[in-house]
């Protein structure tokens, strides 16, 4: 009897903890479950869908574990004991078959959603996309606006409801560009250009960071992505145009290893600066 | 062979184990081939494959290596008939052929380095030197192994241990030949067009 009480206790405590966990994830503190951008929302939906689908297998596993532990415990004299029962075609068909079906369903959904949520895929919208070029440095992020002729460090802005196309590279070891509340993540690699598309439907300040270790100051590779109204964005661009000019020489100074967190704005006259950064790695003598 | 090998279990499991080791060596070379295939166009402004490869030298190397495979085969045939002197002669010839191969490759590498086209010049050259060089290092170890087998054979005659050693050495040598054929085709033939 004592064994059974123990098992009940464990089952109850486990269920309680599980419910508490689920309740917690529902709270708004968990940004990935409560994001602020369309891409992140779709990614969250996929996460929830897959989790629920897998419950078809996971819940029976937990239930069976408890039931068998209870029922076939050696102290339970009433249970059937079949020491040589070691195969069943129907049961095997069940546990090869049902997971197979689940994986098949999930595969179709995955194929579809992976294509729809491809970071390189432009976001359908009636508004013109804003291009922001991103350079991962040691140990901060530089944002270039080729369409507006401005640049900023450690913080950048873009208007809400407007699709944004990030063109990303690095002048440092491999980093990863990630804004959890807006969704999507892609590596920033020297000599290469990756792309990420995103859009946000609400104003706010969103934390971004690098998700791949790049040296001593890695923990400081935090930046702020600020989503604002169109008018505020235009004002920000104007103030950046009054700031100091960023040319290639100035860029090289910025790119030196530092852990400085100061947010700065620049005017960008050389709209091809981004290509120059990448080019350093492609021509002999480019990095001197 | 039955009259030489007394402990069949030891012979068979050693030879089998050696084949398994060669399987792992193939994976090693596969990684190098993959790297070469992916990097051979990354010459970073330096010379390309077309500019560097001398098919004449490579042809000579190939002939030498293929012939050495033939001669080591003959050595083993004599070994299975327990004719120690002939085995030693043909092992010696194999050694000289293998040595010529290594020397030829060494001169090819030296030439490249003196021209300024060392492995530091570009990813292409790094992958070239490493792939061809790894094969060359394997052949060099094979040469040491031939000397080792030669000495033991001369001292102890054709006992089952020496026969087993010669068997695995032969398999190793043929394997290196096989890798060379891939190398020759993928690196030199495809690169020199």
């Amino acid at each position: 009897m004592q064994r059974k009480i123990q098992i009940i206790y464990v089952a109850l405590i486990s269920m309680g903890l599980l419910l508490a966990t689920v309740a917690f994830f529902w709270s708004t503190r968990v940004q990935i479950i409560h994001p602020s951008g369309m891409i992140a929302e779709k990614e969250r939906d996929l996460l929830v869908f897959a989790t629920l689908l897998m419950m078809v297998v996971v819940i029976p596993v937990f239930v069976l574990t408890f039931v068998f532990t209870w029922k076939y415990h050696v102290q339970n004299k009433n249970s059937k004991y079949l020491p040589n029962w070691d195969h069943s075609v129907s049961l095997e068909a069940l546990w090869w078959g049902i997971p197979l079906i689940i994986v098949a369903v999930l595969s179709v959904v995955t194929w579809d959603q992976t294509h729809k949520l491809d970071p390189y895929k432009p976001i359908a919208s009636n508004k013109e996309p804003l291009t922001i070029q991103v350079v991962a440095l040691q140990w901060r992020w530089l944002f270039l606006y080729p369409q507006q002729g401005v640049a900023s460090i450690n913080l950048f802005q873009f208007p809400k409801d407007r699709p944004v196309k990030f063109e990303i590279t690095a002048d440092s070891p491999m980093n990863s560009f990630w804004i959890p509340e807006l969704g999507g993540q892609i590596y920033a690699m020297p000599k290469m250009q990756t792309e990420l598309h995103t859009i946000s439907d609400r104003v706010g300040k969103y934390r971004g960071s690098s998700a791949n270790i790049s040296g001593k100051g890695f923990a400081d590779m935090v930046f702020v992505a600020e989503v604002v109204e169109e008018e505020d964005f235009d004002r920000w661009i104007q103030s950046a145009k009054q700031a100091e000019v960023l040319d290639f020489a100035g860029y090289r100074a910025l790119a030196r290893p530092t852990e400085d967190r100061e947010e700065k704005l620049f005017r960008l006259d050389d709209l091809k600066l981004f290509d120059q950064v990448i080019n350093q790695y492609l021509v002999p003598g480019g990095r001197l | 062979m039955e009259h030489i090998v007394k402990d069949h279990e030891l012979y068979r499991k050693t030879v089998f184990g050696f084949w398994v080791y060669l399987m792992t060596d193939s994976i090693l070379f596969s990684v190098l081939f993959v790297c070469y295939i992916l990097l051979h166009t990354s010459n970073f402004g330096g010379p390309t494959t077309h500019e560097l490869y001398s098919l004449r030298l490579v042809f000579a190397e190939t002939m030498v290596l293929l012939t050495s495979s033939f001669t080591i085969g003959i050595a083993r045939l004599y070994a299975s008939r327990q004719l120690v002197r002939q085995t030693l002669i043909w092992l010696g010839i194999t050694f000289l052929l293998g040595l010529s191969f290594v020397v030829m490759e060494g001169t090819e590498f030296t030439q490249l380095v003196l021209e300024g086209n060392s492995w530091k010049r570009s990813a292409f050259l790094s992958s070239y030197f490493t792939l061809v060089g790894t094969h060359g290092i394997h052949v060099s170890f094979g040469l040491i192994w031939i000397i080792f087998t030669f000495v033991l054979l001369a001292k102890r005659g054709m006992n089952e241990h020496n026969f087993r050693r010669l068997t695995t050495l032969g398999i190793f040598w043929h394997f290196l030949d096989l890798v060379w054929i891939f190398l020759f085709s993928i690196v030199y033939l495809m690169g020199a067009k």
């Binding site: 596993v61 995955t110 690699m189 | -």
Partner: protein, 654 residues
């Protein structure tokens, strides 16, 4: 001249901060204590003859366990330091500098995967496989010893880096360009490189060894389909090792060439391609995690039937599941870097293949559960670990499938969600499986039982500790926390979760304390806990048919097998009188140890650029190999009369 002799080695290599000094001094004190005890008890001869020169798989297995337990404690200390740092560093720098923190997590991962995980795999291979197939030893006993000494030298390097120089700070896989010579010019990455490379070569040799052993040295009558499922699992693991480890060897070699000879495989300029390294290292890395977990799946396939007093359910299914998992593990590697920018078609392919692996894994879980169904279950410690495994590994598997969906992965890649996932499967799977196996086979190896009560305490502390330490990490990952951060802003709200995780770490420390205590108490009580029958659990496979501990020749008479669960069948039939024959056993040799030492100096010379030591160590390795390989007297004969005498002393029931 000074540079030639000392290379990169200067007095600076010995300068460290207080914590590192403390660690180094502690290690030194332990070493001195061990040397003192050996000298006072006059055990040097015993150490040399019984352990350092042994080629007996059973002893080699014990040595693997010794090393792995030491490394487990070291890895745990690393973990506690990390947990403490992250619990404190909310809006401040914490107590550890960034570089030190980065070295700690890199060492933690390297230690746990290569020395605890792989150590457990090879310990189980050595201790159990020959016994379960009715063999006297492995196919290549000398190679087995070499494998162990290379493993031990790797562990030595990792610990040496604490005292002399420093360890790499680029993670347990050291991606370039960060690990290239430009961004990491010091010796740290080289230490990491050679630690892994040397241990890796040892692993490769073991893979070959056990592959040949299982295929060639089974006793008469033991066809492949009559082998215990544990042996099948080890066979699958050996195949994985054979195909995967050469990729690791080459990847590390190419990184070495980049660093030492100025090559450009993985540099970002000169035409190199860091993405190539990422692909290669994970082409090895994914099979590696299945190498770690497959033997543990095999362990459960042995333990559950024994403690359910029932045959394993679905033997054929289990075998095919192992083969499917082994095969699939080679075509999923890209799921470790969905975010590196591959096309959606490629990402989807690898995603679907990854999900497919969940199918045979689930099949195994159901077969274990239905082995229990309609059995008679008892819950000694080995079975408790199985229950924790079911809970935690299933959560790990579920989160694994979530991670395998690219768009979801974009949100959790390299976050603490990932860390929680792999700790769930590695601790819940590999580590708990190892603890289960340890409790199960301990009496066979040592001849006495482990203290059950302390075992149960350790189990509960581990279980609760694991939950406290890792469930908050799932939450943190979903809150946008990346991995490997040594400090973070206070307004992220992460600190409470890190504090809970740190408490969990302390509970785990208490659990390990319990296990150490269990070990000590069991040794003290060993006379009253003796296993006199050789079969304390009423087992089903051949290892339980001989005495505990087994005689050095394993089986006096090689058994002949007629069906699966060979010992279960044999013990319920009348016993025949044994007929003894002469047997050949391998002699002890110190060559394995010396080759390991020469390997150590080879790597040491490359780390510190001691270019005079390099050719000397290469010559030493080649010479030692030549001496050993030309030795034709490597076996001795044990006469039948001698065996009969030894058997009578044991009082066995073979």
């Amino acid at each position: 001249m000074k540079e030639f002799i000392f290379g990169r080695l200067t007095l600076d290599a010995f300068k460290h901060d207080m914590i590192e000094y403390g660690a180094g001094v502690s290690m030194g004190l332990v070493a001195i204590l061990v040397i003192y005890l050996l000298t006072v008890k006059k055990k040097w001869g015993w150490l040399w003859h019984e352990w350092i020169t042994t080629v007996d798989a059973k002893k080699i297995g014990v040595m693997y366990i010794v090393v792995l337990l030491i490394m487990l404690i070291k890895g745990l200390i690393d973990a506690l330091m990390m947990r403490a740092q992250q619990a404190i560093a909310s809006g401040n720098q914490g107590y550890l500098g960034s570089e030190h923190f980065q070295q700690i997590f890199s060492a933690h991962g390297t230690t746990m995967i290569f020395f605890v995980g792989m150590g457990a795999v090879f310990a189980l291979f050595n201790l159990v496989v020959p016994l379960q197939i009715g063999a006297r030893d492995v196919a290549f006993p000398f190679l087995n010893a070499v494998s162990f000494w290379l493993f031990a030298m790797g562990a030595l390097f990792l610990n040496l880096s604490l005292v002399m120089g420093n360890f790499g700070g680029a993670g347990w896989l050291s991606y370039p360009p960060l690990s290239g010579i430009e961004y990491s010019p010091g010796v740290g990455i080289d230490y990491w490189n050679w630690t892994v490379q040397i241990a890796g070569v040892g692993s490769l040799f073991s893979g070959i060894n056990f592959f040949v052993t299982i295929l060639r040295m089974r006793c008469p009558g033991m066809t492949l389909m009559r082998m215990p499922v544990f042996v099948w699992a080890c066979l699958g693991t050996a195949v994985l090792i054979i195909f995967a480890f050469p990729i690791l060897t080459m990847s590390l070699a190419l990184l070495t060439l980049d660093r030492i000879m100025g090559m450009h495989f993985f540099t970002s300029d000169f035409g190199g391609n860091p993405m190539l390294y990422v692909n290669l290292i994970w082409a090895w890395g994914h099979p590696e995690v299945y190498i770690l977990v497959l033997p543990v799946f095999g362990v459960y396939s042995e333990i559950i039937p024994t403690f359910s007093k029932k045959r394993l359910f679905g033997y054929h299914s289990m075998v095919w599941a192992i083969i499917a998992i082994a095969f699939l593990s080679f075509i999923v590697w890209l799921h470790h870097f969905f975010t590196m920018g591959a096309s959606p078609g490629i990402n989807s392919f690898f995603s679907i293949m990854t999900m497919a692996i969940a199918i045979p894994t689930g099949v195994k879980i159901f077969n274990w559960l239905f082995t229990q169904c309609r059995g008679r279950l008892t819950f000694a410690t080995p079975m408790l670990w199985f229950l924790a495994f079911i809970l935690i590994f299933t959560i790990g598997g579920l989160t694994g499938v979530l991670l395998s969906i690219p768009p979801v992965d974009f949100q959790v890649h390299n976050s603490l969600f990932l860390i929680a996932h792999f700790h769930s499967v590695i601790i819940g799977g590999v580590l708990f499986g190892f603890f289960s196996a340890f409790a199960y086979w301990f009496p066979k190896v040592t001849g006495f039982m482990l203290n059950e009560k302390l075992g149960k305490w350790a189990f509960w502390l581990w279980f609760v500790g694991f939950m406290l330490a890792f469930m908050p990490l799932y939450a943190l990952g979903l809150m946008g926390a990346t991995r490997r951060l040594d400090h973070y802003a206070a307004d992220t709200g992460w600190q409470p979760f890190f504090i809970i995780a740190a408490i969990g770490g302390l509970v785990i420390a208490a659990a390990i304390g319990c296990q150490v205590l269990q070990f000590i108490v069991s040794i003290k009580q060993r006379k009253s806990n003796r296993d006199l029958t050789g079969d304390p659990w009423d087992g089903r496979t051949l290892e339980w048919s001989i005495s505990s501990p087994p005689p050095f020749y394993n089986f006096a008479v090689t058994p002949t097998v007629e069906e699966r669960d060979a010992w279960w069948e044999m013990k319920h039939k009348p016993k025949e009188k044994p007929v003894y024959k002469d047997i050949h056993l391998p002699k002890n040799t110190s060559m394995g140890f010396w080759i390991g030492v020469a390997g150590f100096f080879f790597a040491f010379s490359l780390i510190w650029s001691l270019y005079w030591l390099l050719p000397l160590s290469i010559i030493a390795i080649v010479t030692l190999a030549i001496i050993r390989l030309s030795d034709e007297e490597v076996e001795y004969t044990l006469k039948a009369e001698e065996i009969e005498k030894l058997e009578a002393q044991h009082g066995t029931h073979s």
